[in-house]
């Protein structure tokens, strides 16, 4: 398979896309646009035939592992099956081709759908007020932190701190900093859970928000979450639930019920967005009623007029403002809607139950070679440690990860969270069979018996092997033109 760079396939004079002849009377371009704004020549894009483009990117595509072809237990990423029906449905005439500035009377179907999605997400969260606008989970966090700030300001309070556990996703502190807050990180605890006593020492009247992922990044449910929430509420702060791990608790427990005041969803994870080689996501947020007026907008509201339901775009009265242009990542929200309408309440609870079952099964079967330091059981994922293997045989988590590729499995997330040595964060999701999990266990059992030096050289069968990341960081080559110059 050819992997020649796209630009090297270029040949002067080749063409793929052609445009129709101009059917209106043509004028000199220089009479229409200011001379100084006109380019002397067009940008030096590559010149390719249509067949070039197709063959090149078809071949490149085959150099990927993906959920459609491989088990992909990448922890924290919920790599579940992406229903194919979502693709056809989202292209439906009237949805996929609707302009964002279509007038409300011309988009009642879309608004109806988005309104229903708001309602469903509010119910699943136990937090009734929803804005679908944030483009991704991290933007949902940012929006919620701005919202918290606006809320406190409206009460005349000036709170400057955001607190989070050490196992938090990197987006939590990054979003807090971007929203202008000071970050306070808790120390890791013995059992991997937030220690309410320790938390008590770090919150005060300056604390705006405590951000927590639940189940947390170790795959453990924060059993003291009610107490934790009380601690925050007692000092007047708000609790933010990072919804990255919602796949564990759908219909089982709700952020609003265990004390959360705000949360975001990761629609491309929990609700099969899809992952798209890195995105796009969609990060709707759900908040308590008393925070609703501050939501970013517009949101969809419903009213009855002459017996008919009318849907409108509305900006909440004390909105923090827009987080992005247009309504939101509607294409991804649609997929979330399709998913929720396909599953219903029982189906959604089944998702989490099977996700938890699959994770615990894998955890149990792997426990002798890859023990999990914290937690008797896990929720939808677990963080195993290769520390014993490293100490005894020199086999690292990275070795196992790389070697798994040879066996036709994508690697788990490794070296995160940092609180576990030689961490391997494994999330099988509910859309894998026992047979697949068994095959994965067998592969790991085989691998850990292999020679460490052989494993250091892994992967052995992939198209490339262990790229030099150090030189890429020192001397990044970020475009083809630069590489040619070199």
């Amino acid at each position: 398979i050819s992997t020649r760079p796209l630009f090297e396939l270029s040949f002067p004079g080749r063409r793929a896309a052609m445009l129709p002849d101009c059917d209106v009377p043509e004028q000199e371009l220089s009479s229409l646009l200011p001379e100084k704004s006109l380019a002397e020549k067009t940008a030096p894009l590559p010149e390719l035939a249509e067949g070039d483009v197709v063959r090149h990117f078809m071949n490149l595509s085959t150099m990927n592992m993906c959920v459609d072809t491989h088990f992909y237990p990448l922890g924290s990423c919920t790599m579940k099956y992406n229903p194919k029906r979502h693709e056809r449905l989202s292209r439906t005439h009237g949805l996929g081709d609707l302009h964002p500035y279509a007038r409300p009377e011309d988009s009642q179907g879309m608004l109806h759908l988005l309104y229903e999605l708001q309602e469903m997400l509010g119910e699943i969260a136990g937090l009734p007020a929803v804005s679908l606008q944030p483009a991704a989970g991290a933007q949902g966090e940012l929006a919620a932190l701005h919202l918290a700030s606006a809320y406190f300001k409206s009460k005349g309070e000036n709170r400057t701190k955001v607190v989070f556990p050490s196992s938090a996703h990197g987006t939590n502190p990054a979003s807090a900093a971007l929203a202008g807050f000071d970050c306070v990180q808790l120390e890791p605890s013995e059992n991997g859970l937030v220690d309410p006593d320790d938390l008590l020492k770090h919150v005060d009247e300056q604390t705006a928000v405590f951000m927590i992922t639940n189940p947390n990044t170790l795959g453990l449910f924060e059993k003291d979450i009610a107490k934790i929430s009380s601690i925050l509420h007692d000092v007047g702060g708000l609790v933010y639930i990072d919804g990255a791990n919602m796949n564990a608790i759908l219909g089982i427990t709700r952020p609003g019920d265990f004390g959360g005041d705000m949360m975001h969803y990761n629609v491309h994870k929990t609700f099969t967005g899809p992952h798209g080689a890195g995105g796009p996501g969609a990060g709707p947020i759900a908040v308590r009623d008393f925070l609703a007026d501050f939501l970013p907008g517009p949101v969809v509201t419903k009213s009855e007029e002459d017996g008919a339901d009318i849907y409108r775009l509305t900006t909440p009265s004390r909105s923090i403002g827009r987080m992005r242009s247009f309504f939101g990542n509607v294409g991804i929200l649609l997929r979330g809607y399709f998913y929720l309408r396909t599953l219903g309440a029982q189906g959604l609870r089944d998702v989490s139950e099977h996700a938890v079952l699959n994770a615990n099964y894998l955890k149990a079967r792997l426990s002798d070679v890859l023990p999990v330091p914290r937690g008797e059981f896990c929720m939808h994922e677990f963080v195993a440690s290769a520390r014993q293997l490293k100490d005894a045989h020199g086999i690292t988590a990275m070795d196992i990860a790389k070697r798994l590729l040879d066996f036709g499995f994508h690697a788990p997330t490794v070296y995160f969270p940092l609180v576990v040595a030689e961490a391997m964060m494994i999330e099988p999701t509910e859309t894998e069979s026992k047979e697949t999990l068994d095959a994965f266990v067998e592969a790991i059992q085989t691998i850990v018996k292999e020679d460490a030096s052989f494993l250091h050289e892994a992967p052995h069968s992939t198209i490339i092997r262990r790229p030099d990341e150090v030189s890429a960081a020192r001397n990044p080559l970020l475009n083809w033109q630069a590489c040619v110059k070199d």
């Binding site: 100084k36 990117f57 595509s61 459609d68 302009h99 964002p100 933007q139 242009s325 859309t431």
Partner: protein, 445 residues
């Protein structure tokens, strides 16, 4: 049990291995009192067939059968069919962030090629691998400029920038010290004198849009010069299609270029997901937000691609990261990659020329109608602002009744200047035909 595999029999086998009696026992991790004691209140499940019927009915309540002259930052440009075919490949579609380079060379090389194409398009040395969309790209560029200039006090932005982009910027800085100062427009373009007045040595950047929200062509060179003279970065939000005929940002002196990339093969889908583009001079690479792909070699010396400069990113740097972004717009960046590969220089030039010619023809014809005028006497590219005597509402209704959508009206943007609130945008892409334009004019005349 849609999408599930394990049958009751298998579940039992798995529970036996785990050593528990039931899934409920596993769920005791969640304190009993926190467990939901009722089913979620959600609509009943639907099969694929039922869902398709349901969605079909909803979609039919949206009117998309009119000829589209809508603009304002999202456009009905033609999308070659190759793009759908390639982007829907499961290997792109259902893969994730390429953390394991060995299992993701396809994605990595494609994103590297995206970066290279955006560099070729804009004239810059560096492009990241995408941002959320055009509006947040402006904000990210402003933050980047603050990091580069170490000036956090003030950001200048032209009134000609999309009002929603300006709104987003206001939201992003609302808890910070940063002041966002708007440069007014005059006759549709940024008031250069005012710009000179408002800029100072505390200004991190001067942001403008080319062509701007009203469709008008700005004096990019001059605006960049004003920024440079005060040590501020010039940030331009450009229309990718316009670069088929217009100067590239780097070529007229911009320091940072951002864009809404929807024009590059992304369907309208009611506003998103779209594609945020960000490119800049090489000097700023380590201050850049978003993912970057770097070429390197593997242990056998084979050329390959890998996530680069991750130490700027939130998963490593946490609160010191250059941004909080985690997902990018991978699938949309792929679409833009395919689009630019298919179009090539000639395709981009032809598309830009067609837009420009047809927009001018439409403007010429529409302004022949009594009471319909161009709001600004300023050169425009593919979009222009009409002023309609007696207000736009009836005018737009007549157009709609005849099967044409124009807009948006400027009055729907609280951030738009009051002097132009009665304006209506009209966008004309290469997809529009003379026949359609003539029919529109006939319906309104």
């Amino acid at each position: 049990m849609a999408y599930l595999y394990n049958t009751p029999e298998q579940q039992q086998q798995m529970l036996d291995v785990i050593g528990v009696e039931s899934i409920d026992q596993l769920l005791t991790q969640v304190p009993k009192e926190l467990q939901l004691d009722r089913p979620l209140d959600l609509p009943a499940p639907m099969t694929e067939l039922a869902l398709e019927q349901h969605v079909g009915k909803l979609a039919a309540k949206n009117n998309v059968d009119r000829v589209c002259f809508l603009g304002g930052g999202a456009y009905d440009h033609y999308i070659p069919s190759v793009i759908d075919e390639l982007a829907s490949r499961g290997e792109y579609y259902t893969a994730y962030t390429p953390y394991q380079a060995e299992a993701s060379q396809g994605t990595l090389q494609a994103f590297f090629e995206y970066q290279s194409l955006i560099c070729a398009l804009t004239g810059f040395d560096v492009s990241n691998a995408s941002l959320y969309e055009g509006g947040t790209a402006v904000s990210e560029a402003a933050f980047m400029a603050m990091r580069v200039t170490r000036r956090h006090g003030k950001v200048l932005i032209s009134e000609g920038v999309h009002p929603e982009y300006r709104h987003v910027l206001e939201t992003y800085v609302r808890n910070l010290e940063t002041e966002v100062v708007t440069i007014p427009t005059v006759n549709g373009t940024t008031d250069l004198a005012k710009a000179k007045e408002l800029i100072d040595d505390q200004t991190a950047c001067l942001i403008f849009q080319q062509p701007n929200f009203f469709g008008c062509v700005e004096d990019g060179e001059e605006l960049c010069k004003i920024a440079k003279e005060h040590g501020a970065l010039s940030v331009v939000s450009f229309d990718p299609i316009s670069l088929g005929v217009m100067k590239r940002p780097a070529d007229y002196g911009a320091d940072v270029a951002v864009a809404e990339g929807q024009s590059l093969g992304v369907p309208l889908q009611y506003g998103g997901p779209y594609l945020g583009i960000l490119a800049c001079r090489n000097d700023y690479v380590r201050k850049m937000p978003g993912r970057l792909i770097s070429m390197t070699t593997d242990r056998n010396g084979k050329q390959c691609y890998v996530l680069g400069l991750q130490t700027r990113e939130q998963h490593i740097r946490r609160d010191k990261a250059t941004s909080n972004i985690c997902t990018n717009q991978g699938l949309l960046a792929l679409r833009a990659t395919f689009y630019l590969s298919l179009m090539g220089p000639e395709g981009m030039r032809e598309a830009a020329e067609l837009c420009c010619q047809k927009a001018h023809y439409a403007a010429d014809q529409l302004t022949k109608i009594d009471g319909v005028d161009l709001m600004f006497e300023t050169p425009f590219f593919k979009e222009f602002t009409l002023r309609v005597e007696g207000g736009a509402e009836k005018f737009l209704k007549r157009a709609a009744a005849a099967g044409f959508d124009l807009g948006p009206e400027l009055s729907q943007f609280p951030q738009a200047p009051t002097s132009v609130q009665d304006g209506v945008l009209v966008a004309v892409t290469e997809s529009r035909t003379k026949e359609e334009i003539d029919a529109l004019v006939a319906a309104l005349a």
